[in-house]
Symmetry: C2
Subunit: 667 residues, 2 copies
Amino acid sequence: MPHSDLSFMHPFFLGAYAENDHVFEKTLLEFLRDHAYWRRNFHPENRPPIPTNAPYREDYNEFLAQMQQELHTLSADLKKSVPFFSPRYMGHMAADLLLPGVLAQIMTILYNPNNVSDDAAPATLAKELEVGTQLARMFGYNTDPSEEPCAWGHLTSGGTVANYEGIWNLRSVRFYPLSLAQAVKDLGIKLPDVGPKNQQLDQYSKWELFNLSIRDTILLMRKVTAHVKEEYEKKQFQAFSEAVIKESVAHLGMAGFFLRHPEIKQPKLVIPQSAHYSWEKAMKILGMGTAHIEKIRTDVHMRMEISHLKEVIEEHYQQQIPVLGMIGVLGSTEFGSVDPIHKMVEVRDEYAAKGFYFGIHVDAAWGGYMTSLFRLPDGGFVPHEDVCKEFKYFPHKGTWQAFKAVSEADSITIDPHKLGYLPFPCGAFVSKDSGVLDFISQKAAYVFDVKEDPLKKPAAKKLLGLGQYIMEGSKPGSAAAAAYVTHRCIPLHNEGFGRIMAHSMRACEYFYDKLMDVRRHLKELVTITIPFTPDTNLVCFAINPKGNPHLALLNHFSRKVFQHMKINPQQPLQAHDFFGSFTSLSKDALTDEDAARIFEELGINGDTFCHHVTDRTRESDHIYLIRHTLMNPWLMYEDNGMNYIDRYCAFLFRAIKTEMGRAIGRG
Amino acid sequence: MPHSDLSFMHPFFLGAYAENDHVFEKTLLEFLRDHAYWRRNFHPENRPPIPTNAPYREDYNEFLAQMQQELHTLSADLKKSVPFFSPRYMGHMAADLLLPGVLAQIMTILYNPNNVSDDAAPATLAKELEVGTQLARMFGYNTDPSEEPCAWGHLTSGGTVANYEGIWNLRSVRFYPLSLAQAVKDLGIKLPDVGPKNQQLDQYSKWELFNLSIRDTILLMRKVTAHVKEEYEKKQFQAFSEAVIKESVAHLGMAGFFLRHPEIKQPKLVIPQSAHYSWEKAMKILGMGTAHIEKIRTDVHMRMEISHLKEVIEEHYQQQIPVLGMIGVLGSTEFGSVDPIHKMVEVRDEYAAKGFYFGIHVDAAWGGYMTSLFRLPDGGFVPHEDVCKEFKYFPHKGTWQAFKAVSEADSITIDPHKLGYLPFPCGAFVSKDSGVLDFISQKAAYVFDVKEDPLKKPAAKKLLGLGQYIMEGSKPGSAAAAAYVTHRCIPLHNEGFGRIMAHSMRACEYFYDKLMDVRRHLKELVTITIPFTPDTNLVCFAINPKGNPHLALLNHFSRKVFQHMKINPQQPLQAHDFFGSFTSLSKDALTDEDAARIFEELGINGDTFCHHVTDRTRESDHIYLIRHTLMNPWLMYEDNGMNYIDRYCAFLFRAIKTEMGRAIGRG
C-alpha cells in the first residue's frame, strides 16, 4: 500500500465533505426507528399516553414551534464551532469522529443506560468492562482472569479523572500495610509469617511496609484476612476489619495518617517537567499537595531525563522519603513526546530490589492509541526494524522501547476521545492488577445488595457494581457503547487502529520535512525553530524575525502569525484558511541548557528570558510556540498535486511574509 | 387544569409509545443534514477526500457491512435495557428524556465541542455558563455581575464530582487566611488594618482566621493583594504571591498544612445520616478522611435532626474543632427526604456571630429541580399556602422553608440527568460567589495565554478557560447544549419545569394513598410499612408476613416480592409487568428510636436487628426495602379507568399473595 493511499479510511469517518452522509443518515434512521418500535412493542396492548390527536392541539404545536426555534438557534450557533472535521484544522487534539463510535453513541443515548451498576445498564456495563479489557490487551497486560495479575479498566469522563484515579489507587494500596500492622498490633492478633520476607508482621519496619510492592500488598492482605477469618471468631474478625479501616488513610485522611506515623515521611509523586497540568491539580485535590511533587528535568527531546530521575530517586532512597509513584508520559500534551518508560521500569526494579518501591502510572491520554501501531493481532509486539520500514524517522528506538514497556506499568490513562477519534466524554483508566479493587471499594446500600463477601467474588462480578470502585457515580453507557463498537470494528492492533495511527505519524513526518523547507525558503527573513523534534504526531515551532535578539519580540511576532490561524467566533470560519493552536514554554519548564540551545538556534539573547519581566518590549517569561496536532485523516489527501500540509506550508509562508511586511512597515 | 391532565407534557417527550417519533425523526434528520451541508460548504472549492466511487469498492463495503453487524448486535443488546421510558418502570432515578435535550445533545455531538475552553467550544462554553446562571437563578442566587456576590455554575460528569467540588471549593477558600497570615509574617509585609474586625492581620488568632466567612476571605484576599501590589515593588509582590501559594493547602497538602499549624485541629464535614455515599468517597479521595465526618442523626422523616446538629456544633465550638462545612440534602437518594436547610442556615448564622464559621453546601442532586415548583417567573418564591393548593400533602411547611433557604447556602449540587430528564452525563455545581474562582484556579499554558492578570478579569472572562476552575478537563459541549436548550424551552419556574415536578409530586401522593389501600386490603396477610413518609417523590416500604418477628425473614420475603419487579437481563423485559428498585437501611443508619418505631409497626422483634449476625435465619444487619421513584410523566395516565399506579398496586397485591402462598406452601 503506498503511503498516500487513504482508501482504507474512506468508510471510517463522516468525512470532510460529509461524503458518507448516506451511510450516517440511513443507519441513524434505522436505529432511531428501531428504538421507537421497541418502545411501541414493549406493551402494545396498552393505549399510548400521548393521544393521536395531540398534534392537532394548539399548545402542543406551540411548544414544538418554540423547540424548533431554540434548536435552530443552537444549530446556527454551532456553525461557529471549530471545524475539527476538516484537514484545515491542525490545532487541538480533535478531528473527525469514527462513524461506528458516533452511531453507537447516539443510538445508545436513546436508551440512556447508566453504567454506575448493571442494574441500570444491563447492556452497556459489560461493554465498558470489555473496553477496559480491549485497552488492557493493547497495552500488553494479562486479561485472562485465571492468571494473576489480571487487568481491568473502565471509562472516565476524561483523562484528568483517570489521572486522579491513578494516584488514588496507588495511595489506597500502598498505605494499607501500615494500617494493617497497626490494627494487628492494637488487637494483639497472632499471625503466621507473612509478606515477601516471610516473617512476623511486626518484624517489618514501617519503611519496609510502606515499600511493599502492589502485588505483595495484595497477597499480604489476602493471607492475613483469610487467616484471621479462619482462626478467629466472627466477632473478632469483624473487630479486626473495622480496625484496619479505622487505621486506613481513607479514614484518617492525609493529616491523620502522618500524625499517626511520624516515622514515615510524606510520599512524593515523581513526574516529568512535561506532565499535564492535571497532575498538579490531582495533588491539590487529593490533599497530597504540590509540594510533594518531584519534577524531573526533560532532555532535548522533551523526554524525562533518566539521569536526573536516578539522582532524585537515589536522594529519596538515601533520605528515606517514600515515593508513591512515578508518572511516565506517553505523548505529552504540548509536544507529543514520549518518556522512556522502559528505563523508568528499570529504575523501579533496581530500587525495588533494594526495598524501595514505587508504582508507575503511564499518562497515555494522548499516545495510548499509538500502541495499536506496535501490537500484532496475535498479541505480539512488532519488532523495531519492522515498524521502521513504514516511516522515515519514527519510531526512535527509545520510543519503541517505551511503548513496549507500558505493560510493566501499574496503571494507565488513555483518552478514547483523543486519538480514539470518539466523541466526548470518553477517557479511560486501565489497571494492571484487579486485586487493587479490594482496596478502593465503597459501599452504597441502594445500589449494591449487602449480603455478599467481597473477597470471594471474582473481579468481573464485583464490577457489576462499578460505582463502588471508581471516582465517579452515574455515567453514560453511551460512551461505553461508542468505544466498544469502534474497537470491534477497528481492532486495537497494527492491522486495525494501527493503520490510522501510522497514517497520522506519516503525516507528521511529512509536515516536519515541509516545515523545514519553509524554514529554508524564509531563512533570510525569519528563523523557524522546532524546539523538540516530535516523538509522535505533534509539532511546535517558534518564529523569530531575522536579527531580533529579544524574546518579547519573537513572542509578539509569533502571536501575530498565529492570528492568521486562530479561531475567532466573531469572524466567519472561512476567514482563515487553516487553524492551529499555541502553547508556551515557561522558564520553569526548561533547563538552562535547553533554553540556551533553543535561543542559539533562534538568535535570541537568553538574558531576555526571565522570571520577572521588567521591560515588556524585550523580555518575557515564556517562549510562545505555534502548535499543530497532525491527526486529521485527510491531511495527506492530494488535490491538484498538493495535499493539505503543502497548502498549509504555503499559507504559513504567506502569513510570515505578510507579518514581516507589516513589521517593517511599522518600522 | 385538572390534576390528571397530562396534555402539557405531550410534546415534551418521545413518549412511552414513541408517539412523537415523527417530530424526533424529522428534527434529527433536518439537523443531521444541516450538519452535513455545513461541512460541505466549509470549503466547497476543495475536492472531497473520500471519492464518489468509494462506495463501489469492496473493502469500503466490507467495513460498512461489519459496522452494520456490530451496530445490529449493539441494538439487539440494548433491547435488554431498563425501560426507563415506560410508566411501568418506577425504579431508579431515570425516566424518559426531554425531547429538546436529546435532540440538542445529538445535534451537538456531530460538532463535538470540548467545553474545557472557549478555544475548543466557541458555541457551547457560553451555553454551559448560561446553564449555570439558569440554575443559580432558580435557586434564588444573585446572577447580576454588577452586584456581589454573583453566582456561577458549570456542568460536571455527575453529582458525585459536583459534591467533590463542593468540598474542594470550601477547602480552598477557608484555608487561605492562615496561608496568607503566614506569608505576610514570614516576609515582614506591612499591611493596613484588614478583615471583619478591621485590625492588623497578626492580631487575628489562627482560630479566627480559620473562621472567616467566605465573603470576608474574598475581601481580605483582594485588599491585601491590592495593597502589596501598590505599596511594594514588583519583585516583592511576586515573592509575596509565591509565598502565599507555598503556604496553601494546595501546596502543602493536608498533612503538611496541619503539621505547620498544629494549633488548629483538622476540620470536620458535617453531613446527615442520609447523605449519599459519594460524601464519604469525597472525604477519602480528597485526603480529608472519613474520620472527619460528623454524622447527624435523622428524625422520623429521615431529615437532619436539628437538635442533634446543634449539639454537635456546640461541642465543636467548645472544643475549637473547626467545621469546614455542613451538607444539607435536598432530596435524599433513598427516600427523597429534605433536610431543614433553613434551620441549618440559622445555626450557621448563630455561630458565625460567635466567630465560628462553616460553609453550607446543599446536595440537591435529586431534589434541585423541584425548586422550579416554588419559583415564580419573576424570580419570587411561591407562598406556602399557594403551593399547598395543588397537592394533598406536599409540601410540608419545613420542606417549603428548606427550598426557600437554599439561596442562603454557599454552593449546590444538582443533576440535570436526574429530575432534569436529560441524558447522561449531566451533573452541575452551582456556587453563590464567583469570588471563589480566584482560590481554585490552575494554570495550563497550552490552553490559556499567560499574559493576563487574573484578579482584574471579570468572572465571565476568566471562565472562558473553564478547565482552570473545575476538577475535570475535557468535557462534552453536547451536555451543555442539551441543558441549555431544555431550560430555554421549559424554563425553571412554576409555569415551566415546575409543572412537570408538580405532576411527579401528585403521582407520588397518589401512589402513597394507593399503597395504603393495598396495606389495608392485605392487613390479615402482611404488614406494609413506609418507614419515612415521603418529602418528595420517592417511596420505600417493607413487607412483613403477618406474625413474623424475625428481621431476616422479613428481608427474605421482601426480596422475594422484589423478584417480581427486578430487571433480569436473562429474561425478556415483558416477563415482569412493573419494575422497581430496592435499598437497605443498615443498623448504623437508624437511631434506636426509629428502629423501634418501624419494628413496632412491622411486628418485628428489634433484637433480630444486629450488627453481627450469628443466626442468619432470624437476624439481619439491615432492613430491606422496596423503593420506587415516581418521576415518569405517564404514571397517572388512565386507560380503562386505571392508571399505572393503580395497575402497579394490583400487581403488588398479586405478587405478595403469590409469595405468601409459596411461603405457606413451603411451610
